[in-house]
């Protein structure tokens, strides 16, 4: 196996995620896209860990998974809060403050 096949897959996922967070209006969908990005990173980490035969990559990936879970949690909490106050989670409408 080539290292690059994993890395390019990860880059692909990353960029699809980026597309998602930029193009989606629905807050929940944006959060899902974030997961794509974070998973892309994990693939990278594990692939590199495998390359160098180092445990650090896996450990890093595990920490990332944990943190990602926490992030999704509070992300959804904030989205819920906004939904409750605004009855909408359309990100493009949220621009009370600017300039």
């Amino acid at each position: 196996m080539l290292l690059n096949q994993f890395l390019l897959l990860s880059a692909m996922l990353f960029c699809i995620g980026v597309y998602g967070v930029l193009a989606r209006k629905n807050g929940v969908l944006v959060l899902m896209s974030i997961e794509l990005i974070l998973n892309a990173v994990n693939i990278n980490l594990v692939a590199f860990g495998a390359l160098t035969d180092d445990v650090g990559g896996e450990v890093f990936a595990l920490f990332t998974i944990a943190v990602a879970a926490a992030e999704v949690g509070i992300g959804l909490a904030i989205v819920l809060l906004i939904y409750r106050n605004r009855r909408s989670i359309d990100l493009s409408e949220i621009d009370l403050m600017k300039g």
């Binding site: 980026v18 967070v21 930029l22 944006v30 990100l91 493009s92 949220i94 621009d95 009370l96 403050m97 600017k98 300039g99």
Partner: protein, 724 residues
């Protein structure tokens, strides 16, 4: 005998300095002379109002004391001179020392300065006394006397200076005093205008003074001293480069032109008549305007070498003097204001002095300064006396026939006029004659000697003599003869009081006798020991700080010729005024000031009733017009036109232009360009900030796009630069 003296002087310049530090008490302590009026200034300023005579007594006392000291100094100088020869007494003390440059303050007492002390103090004393009456009811009486004292002090300080820097100080102080005094009645705008004009014109000259002084300081003073004696000595001994001297003399000449009212910078002088008459007398006779002449005399080596006076037939200084004397004389013709006549006459006489210095006739110039002081003071005070009586200076409107009301003033005025006109044997005759002799340009008439062949200047001087005689005749006629034209509603004018008359007597007396102190050598009526006393004691020809000048030989024929010219001038004017105008006036029972059909008026200002008369004198008109009317009419008027429209306008315009340029610079450059740049950069920053703010659109996904895109762009850029 004196010729021998002069020739002897030309050959040998003492190499060792002819300066001594110790001498008679009166010479060593000559600095008391300016100090007294200075103290009196302070005294009057602070305590004058509380004094019984409002401070006038303090001023008079101080100046009187100064006069006494000066007189004693004069006697002391004669003794000193007789004892050890022409050794100037110099005492100086270090004023300050900085950056290796030493500034000293001190007095230089020699014949020249002693003579000036005498002239200044005596004129000032009489002006002080005169003023107690003349400005007696002025609301700023005390203040007037304070500045009169300061004016005197400044001039005395100036003439005693032993270095150029100190001269600058005195020079400027004189200027500022004249500013204050000319503007004494500052409520009227013309008066303050005149004061400003005087000061500013002088300032223009001061540019020259400052640069000239600095040039001398470095070129002749070695960059360490301003000492006049040392600078003069350096020049006399040929240690100074010619270029520097040309620059210095030209620059200083500019200063002289402004201060001494030489042609093109003279316009402030007539305007300065706005001041009270005693001030005019002081300015014109003894202080202010003669400062320039004095400076040339004091720094004569600079000019003698710089202008290349010796062995030439033309130079800038002499030419300016010559032009000034004729121009001033012409202008005096067309003035209606009696003081302006005198003012232009001063311009003209100063022209004589400068021309004399320009042709190398040092003694003649200084002597003329000396005599002129007396008769000009006499005339000014006299005109003041008249004006005091009629409350006006306008000869045509408010005067005429004054001799009936003011016979005493009339007599003194006549004496003064004759002296000014240079008629034998009054003071003006001797000094003017000497100037003409000094030009050395009369080969035809048998004169010899002198520093060059200044024929042009001689002719101008002759013409000027005729003019002088003529305009003074006009002035006398208009003022004192004919019928009174003024307002009689407040009663007839009456003779002035003793405080005015006594100074007039003294002055006219001096105007008569002053000329005798320098009788020309070979004048047979007196012994040789009485001839050329003035030149003997005043001219530093044997000192180390004076250039080797040639002295011209006096000439009988020239004296006769000059007198004749003056008489012709006077005679023509007498014929015109005293004969024709008077006659016409008698016929028409009017008080006339000129012939109604004068060339200038031929196209009809005359009233219809006079037409016949006009025609009757048509022929007369032609021939006399050549001598009198043309001079009096078109030429003088043209000169006046040039004066008012060109020169004066130039001066005024220069001022206006400066203001205009100032406005333009301020509006366009300062507010527009520089400030505009400053404010503009502020606006640009503001606008850029506003544009940048658009980045923060408020939409979080736009923010994210920037984040990711910038990450990609940065990474891409760095990849391309560093890794690929």
């Amino acid at each position: 005998m004196s010729v021998v003296l002069g020739l002897a002087a030309s050959g040998s310049v003492p190499t060792s300095s002819t300066v001594t530090h110790s001498a008679n008490w009166f010479l060593e302590y000559a600095w008391l002379v300016p100090l007294l009026p200075a103290l009196s200034f302070a005294g009057i300023l602070f305590f004058g109002k509380r004094m019984p005579y409002k401070g006038a007594e303090l001023g008079i006392a101080a100046v009187a004391l100064s006069f006494l000291l000066s007189a004693c100094a004069g006697i002391a100088w004669i003794q000193h001179h007789d004892d050890i020869g022409y050794h100037a007494v110099q005492n100086s003390t270090q004023w300050l020392q900085s950056g290796g440059v030493e500034f000293s303050a001190g007095v230089l007492v020699d014949g020249l300065s002693v003579m000036m002390l005498l002239v200044v103090t005596i004129v000032s004393l009489l002006v002080h006394v005169y003023s107690t009456d003349y400005v007696g009811d002025d609301k700023r009486y005390t203040h007037f006397f304070a500045f009169l004292s300061l004016f005197t002090a400044a001039m005395l300080f100036f003439v005693l200076s032993d270095n150029i820097l100190q001269m600058i100080v005195g020079w400027e102080l004189v200027g500022v005093c004249s500013f204050v005094l000319i503007g004494h009645w500052w409520e009227e705008k013309p008066n303050s205008d005149a004061a400003l004009k005087a000061f500013l014109t002088n300032r223009v000259g001061d540019v020259g003074l400052i640069i000239g002084t600095i040039t001398l300081f470095f070129a002749a003073g070695g960059g360490v001293t301003f000492d006049t004696v040392r600078i003069n000595e350096a020049i006399v001994q040929g240690e100074v480069g010619h270029t520097a001297l040309i620059v210095a003399s030209l620059c200083l000449m500019a200063a002289v032109m402004s201060k001494s009212g030489q042609f093109i910078l003279h316009t402030w002088l007539p305007d300065a008549m706005a001041g009270p008459t005693p001030v005019s007398a002081l300015i014109h006779a003894a202080t202010m305007v003669v400062a320039g002449v004095f400076m040339i005399a004091r720094l004569y080596p600079v000019f003698f070498e710089g202008m290349q006076i010796g062995g030439s037939s033309i130079n800038l200084m002499a030419t300016i003097g010559a032009i000034t004397l004729v121009f001033g004389g012409l202008l005096a013709f067309v003035q209606d204001d009696i003081k302006k006549v005198l003012a232009y006459s001063t311009v003209s006489q100063l022209g004589y002095m400068v021309m004399a210095l320009g042709v190398g006739a040092w003694t003649a110039a200084v002597f003329h300064l000396f005599t002129h002081a007396f008769f000009k003071a006499n005339l000014f005070l006299g005109s003041g006396s008249v004006a005091h009586a009629v409350h006006s200076f306008d000869m045509k409107k408010d005067m005429g026939g004054m001799r009936k009301f003011m016979p005493k003033t009339y007599v003194t005025f006549i004496i003064g006029s004759l002296a000014l006109a240079g008629l034998f044997p009054l003071a003006g005759f001797w000094s003017k004659d000497e100037i003409l002799v000094g030009t050395g340009g009369w080969g035809l008439l048998g004169g010899t000697g002198g520093n060059g062949a200044y024929t042009f200047h001689l002719l101008m001087g002759m013409f000027g003599a005729a003019l002088t005689a003529a305009y003074m005749t006009r002035c006398v006629y208009l003022t004192f003869h004919g019928e009174f034209r003024g307002d009689r509603s407040h009663g007839d004018p009456h003779e002035s009081g003793p405080r005015i008359l006594v100074p007039l007597y003294i002055m006219s007396g001096l105007a008569v006798v002053a000329g005798f102190v320098n009788l020309p050598a070979g004048f047979q009526l007196v012994g040789d020991s009485w001839t050329e006393r003035f030149g003997h004691y005043v001219e530093p020809y044997k000192s180390s700080y004076f250039p080797a000048i040639d002295h011209a030989t006096p000439s009988w024929s020239l004296a006769v010729a000059a007198s004749a010219v003056a008489l012709v001038g006077a005679g023509a004017a007498v014929y015109y005024y005293f004969v024709k105008v008077d006659r016409l006036a008698d016929e028409t029972q009017q008080s006339l000031t000129e012939l109604p059909d004068g060339l200038s008026k031929s196209n009809g200002l005359a009233a219809a009733g006079h037409k016949v008369l006009v025609n009757k004198y048509y022929l007369d008109h032609l021939y006399e017009g050549v001598i009198v009317a043309f001079t009096k009419g078109p030429l003088a008027r043209a000169a006046y036109w040039v004066n008012q429209k060109v020169i004066d306008r130039t001066v005024d315009k220069a001022g206006e232009t400066a203001v205009l340029v100032g406005r333009q610079v301020y509006d366009v450059v300062d507010q527009g360009v520089i400030d505009g740049f400053v404010d503009g950069s502020g606006r640009v920053s503001d606008a850029t900030g506003e544009e940048l703010r658009r980045i923060n659109s408020g939409k979080v996904q736009n923010y994210a796009a920037i984040l990711f895109a910038m990450a990609a762009v940065l990474a891409g850029a760095f990849l391309i630069i560093f890794a690929l």
